[in-house]
């Protein structure tokens, strides 16, 4: 700093970095209003032909008055959303080690094939003779999913992991009903470390969720599980590898015990990336498992979706798949839709149409690009990367459990003890270093949890810099003098820490013209 370049015209270095600008912008970091503050009546960003005048047939229900939508031209809209985008962190920008989310590389090839004419533009209710390629595409993906998991059936329609959980647990309920046990089996077991969607799903279906404790190694306590199993148990919901990033080493014993009491084994497959191509869940005794295509198979997370959550099913549960499904007859594919006759008793329908086709296309492109060899390698690299991060940080941070992890490394906050720095502060300091923080405070079973999932997509050089930055932060925190600085983080992001309490206490969920804002009067 302050190294003068001895240049004519005199460049002065340093300066007063906090000197405010007139606009509030800071060079490429540009402040951006809401569209509602940018609009003007009569302005538009589309040109449509004048509609021919027709006698309207709206049953007298024509909208009166203004909707209130702002009018912007196309250049404004492009600038507005470009500038907004620049306030985001993303996989395309660097290490995004959000545990349990598998933030891996999203290839552009997948975006391209999803947009091909004849794929991206098909209507779901076109005559089936005109969508044979689309049906085959879905069936091809289904084949991969079944083969990779070693399971005989798959329900393709769920829209995300949580929706897949709903599908799988409904299938279990349907199977129980078929056996006349739906009324008696009302308990679902789940570890305390389970993702929130597991208990939420079970509860929505009227099950009582009973927690099962973990052992000191971060796995299900087998003895406790066996004790909890009984004729009232409908199912166990278990994530494997689990949310501590550990493989449930007694998984075979667990599934055996579960099956012995006549219950089912729902596996939360959110962490399938750790084992895809190396371990088939079907070989572990799983009855059903959702697969987050947006995690393991790289369909983009898109700022919170869309995802897709196909559910693979064991032979026992296969008859209870929801509508629709795809059937191959000779050379032709058909969709079995509501009303199609089948052996078992179908579950019903979870969603309009045939599922998240756009995600199927991307996932299949990802899968074909990797092949069975590449998928296995990806799983191995993901696991190796997580262990490398763990090993490289274990002397300055505190791993929650002993031994190797799978695809994510879990730390607790004991290394921050008495430093005045919390997990939250530590995470926010990572933002200034150019990283997205890891998952914080999940799983709940670990104090101040920090769950780091590097995925297979990061180069070793990038992991090394990430590790070095975390080591530096950990050492700084432990120096005992930096709490203030941590609390002040992040300092360089588009916004500094946001007041979430205020947001929840006085919810403002929409823009209103500031003059005529009124509380809802009812």
């Amino acid at each position: 700093m302050d190294r003068s370049q001895g240049r004519t015209g005199g460049i002065v270095s340093g300066g007063a970095p906090d000197m405010p600008t007139f606009t509030g912008n800071r060079a490429l970091q540009i402040e951006e209003p809401l569209i509602f503050e940018l609009g003007q009546p009569g302005r538009t960003g589309v040109d449509l032909p004048e509609p021919p005048k027709v006698k309207d047939r709206l049953n007298g229900l024509r909208r009166a008055g203004e909707i209130g939508l702002p009018g912007l031209s196309e250049p404004q809209v492009v600038q507005h959303y470009t500038r907004l985008s620049q306030k985001n962190y993303a996989i395309d920008m660097g290490v995004y080690p959000l545990g349990s989310c598998t933030m891996k590389h999203n290839p552009r090839l997948n975006e391209k094939v999803a947009r091909l004419a004849g794929i991206g533009d098909l209507h779901p209710l076109q005559p089936q003779s005109t969508v044979q390629g689309a049906l085959e595409l879905i069936d091809r993906l289904a084949h991969w999913l079944k083969t990779l998991t070693g399971m005989p059936a798959v329900a393709m329609s769920p829209a995300a992991g949580a929706h897949g959980e709903m599908c799988g647990m409904m299938a279990i309920a349907a199977a129980l009903e078929a056996k006349g046990e739906r009324a008696t089996r009302k308990t679902v077991l789940a570890p305390e470390s389970a993702h929130g969607t597991n208990p939420a799903t079970a509860a929505a279906l009227g099950f009582t969720v009973k927690p099962i404790p973990a052992n000191g190694r971060g796995r299900v306590d087998l003895a406790a599980l066996k004790a909890a199993l009984g004729p009232d148990v409908a199912a166990i919901m278990l994530t494997n590898p689990n949310t501590c990033g550990l493989f449930e080493s007694e998984i075979v014993e667990i599934s055996k015990a579960v099956h012995e009491v006549g219950a089912y084994f729902y596996c939360d497959g959110a962490n399938f990336n750790a084992i895809v191509g190396r371990v088939r869940p079907g070989d572990l005794g799983v009855d059903c498992m959702h697969i987050n295509l947006h995690k393991t198979f790289s369909t983009p997370h898109g700022g919170g979706g869309p995802g897709a959550g196909p559910v693979v099913l064991s032979a026992a549960l296969a008859p209870y798949a929801p509508y629709p499904w795809i059937v191959k007859n000779g050379d032709a594919w058909t969709v079995a839709e509501d009303g199609a006759k089948v052996d078992g008793r179908p579950l019903g329908r979870l969603k309009a149409f045939h599922g998240q086709m756009g995600m199927f296309t991307r996932a299949l492109a990802y899968i074909m690009s990797h092949g069975a060899d590449g998928l296995k390698q990806a799983a191995e690299d993901a696991v190796l990367s997580a262990n490398y991060v763990m090993a490289s940080l274990k002397d300055v941070m505190t791993p929650a459990f002993e031994g190797p992890c799978m695809h994510e490394a879990l730390f607790d906050d004991s290394f921050l003890k008495d430093t005045g720095v919390s997990t939250l502060d530590f995470a926010k300091a990572m933002i200034d270093e150019g990283y997205h923080p890891m998952t914080m405070y999940f799983p709940l079973v670990v104090h101040g949890a920090m769950l780091i999932e590097p995925t297979e997509s990061q180069a070793k050089e990038d992991l090394d810099l990430f590790i070095a930055a975390l080591r530096a932060l950990a050492e700084k925190a432990k120096s005992g003098t930096a709490a203030e600085a941590f609390k002040a983080a992040p300092r360089f992001s588009p916004r500094r820490r946001l007041d979430e309490t205020l947001a929840a206490r006085k919810p403002v969920l929409r823009w209103r013209p500031s003059n005529d804002f009124k509380q809802a009067a009812e």
Binding site: L34, F36, G45, P51, P52, R57, N59, L61, I67, G68, L69, G71, E74, Q86, A90, M93, M103, V113, L116, I119, S129, G133, A159, A160, H195, P199, A200, T201, L205, F247, I251, I275, R280, D283, N292, P300, H301, G303, G304, P306, A308, D338, G339, L347, G348, K351, H354, G358, A365, S369, G371, A427, K428, P437, E456, E500, A503, A504, P507, L509
Partner: protein, 448 residues
């Protein structure tokens, strides 16, 4: 492999740091019986981009693209023109490859568009608050019923015979497994159904659709009054969100919850998904809503910013007591919706709706000239039902063989109901042309 940055040298060095001899050691917790010695059998190896692209082009070649054929299909998914800038925007890595905005300081881009989205949804529907999107309209409708059950602490939903059959079935499925009752009214082809008499003190909600599945435009103000008098909620479903540019919004009819399929704005047909559900309600029910909510706040420097809020409703905080199990939903589709609607604005959105109505009116007029074809609807927006002199399904197939995508035979969605066998649903949007209508009319004349 092009997506994997680790080299063999990297892997060796990393194993050394980890203190493992091989990557197999890291998998030592996997029971031996389940450890595959080699890659999964029976599946091919990796392919280059060119080969993958060719494979998908071959899938595409075996479909008929709506861009290559006269096209009049709707029934809950509509073909609209999406501006190129929308598709550009949703492909920007900063949006595409980001996740749920858990760290608001570096996801203000996502949060601000969600706030804009929520506001747009309230404006279109005429409601007070909206969430940050649902998977789609059909799942949103089922969530709406669950929410009504929570609000009213009742367990009987009354379902209109004018509701899209897929939506109805999704609600029935939820009802069956989540333990409430869904009473479905008989199929309402003519749009004359009156549900008021069916409401009773156990009714948690009435679910209607506008325009209905068969295309009828209805006023539900009276129904809303009846619901409120009985302590029930009125849920209005809209599968063609463009209709809200021309029609009185459900909020003005007294709806308590409005659910729309948002696909028409910003999102292509995509063979059925991903789409985006819009979900709006009254402020007083805010804390019973499912899904994510984005709210305004300030940062440490006092600057306006946005965060996810009221998350005590959600599964990751409330677990078994959550209002819904939803986690990932439809962020990018919501962005597409928001960008497209922002481009349209007040003037463009209204004109788009007018244009749709005009095209459908033209189609209706022309189709009535086909001998034996009878228009069922008095009212419609951009879609209507006709009665053919014979079953619609084979007619549609015969036209498909002529590369005309002529609409949806109602029997495809209601196979159990023989009374609808001759009914055909047809939609016309701003993308309909003379060059498409003429072959349809000619084709129908030939086939009938």
């Amino acid at each position: 492999m092009r997506y994997l940055p680790l080299t063999d040298a990297d892997r060796r060095e990393m194993l050394a740091v980890v203190g493992a001899k091989s990557v197999d050691e890291l998998f030592r917790d996997v029971p031996l019986s389940a450890r595959l010695g080699a890659q999964v059998a029976g599946l091919p190896d990796h392919l280059g981009e060119l080969e993958v692209e060719r494979a998908f082009q071959e899938f595409a070649n075996r479909n008929v693209s709506p861009s290559q054929a006269p096209f009049f299909i709707g029934a809950g998914a509509y073909r609209h023109h999406v501006p190129a800038s929308v598709d550009y925007m949703i492909q920007r890595g900063e949006f595409l490859t980001s996740y749920t905005p858990y760290q608001p300081e570096i996801t203000q881009g996502t949060l601000q568009y969600l706030f804009e989205f929520q506001t747009q949804v309230t404006l279109l529907t005429g409601m007070e608050v909206a969430n940050a999107s649902m998977y789609d309209g059909s799942t949103g409708a089922a969530e709406a019923v669950l929410m009504a059950n929570r609000v009213t602490r009742r367990h009987k939903a009354l379902i209109s015979g004018g509701l899209h059959p897929h939506y109805r079935r999704v609600i029935e499925t939820t009802a069956k497994w989540e333990g409430y009752s869904a009473v479905v009214s008989k199929v309402d082809v003519e749009g004359l159904e009156d549900l008021i008499a069916a409401i009773d003190k156990d009714t948690s909600c009435v679910v209607v659709q506008n325009p209905s599945f068969f295309g009828h435009v209805r006023d539900f103000s009276k129904l809303a009054e009846a619901c409120h008098a009985a302590g029930a909620l009125l849920i209005v479903v809209v599968t063609e969100v463009v209709s809200l540019g021309l029609l009185k919004p459900p909020g003005e009819m007294g709806a308590d919850i409005v659910v729309c399929e948002g696909q028409s704005i910003g999102n292509g047909l995509g063979f059925g998904g991903p789409y985006v559900g819009l979900f709006a309600t009254k402020e007083k029910y805010m804390r019973q809503m499912p899904g994510r909510l984005c709210g305004e706040t300030v940062d440490a420097d006092g600057k306006r910013g946005f965060v996810l809020t009221l998350s005590t409703r959600e599964q990751h905080i409330r677990r078994e007591k959550a209002t819904s199990n939803i986690c990932t939903n439809a962020g990018l589709c919501a962005l597409a919706f928001t960008v497209h609607l922002t481009l349209l604005g007040e003037a463009g959105f209204k004109r788009l709706a007018e244009l749709n109505h005009a095209k459908a009116s033209e189609l209706a007029d022309r189709i009535e000239t086909v001998p034996g074809v009878q228009l069922v609807n008095q009212s419609f927006f951009n879609e209507f039902t006709v009665r053919l002199p014979k079953p619609a399904a084979p007619v549609v197939e015969a036209l498909a063989a002529r590369r005309i995508l002529a609409g949806v035979p109602v029997s495809r969605l209601l196979p159990e109901d023989p009374s609808v066998a001759n009914l055909l649903l047809l939609a016309a949007t701003e993308t309909a042309t003379e060059a498409g209508m003429a072959p349809l009319i000619a084709g129908l004349k030939e086939v009938l």
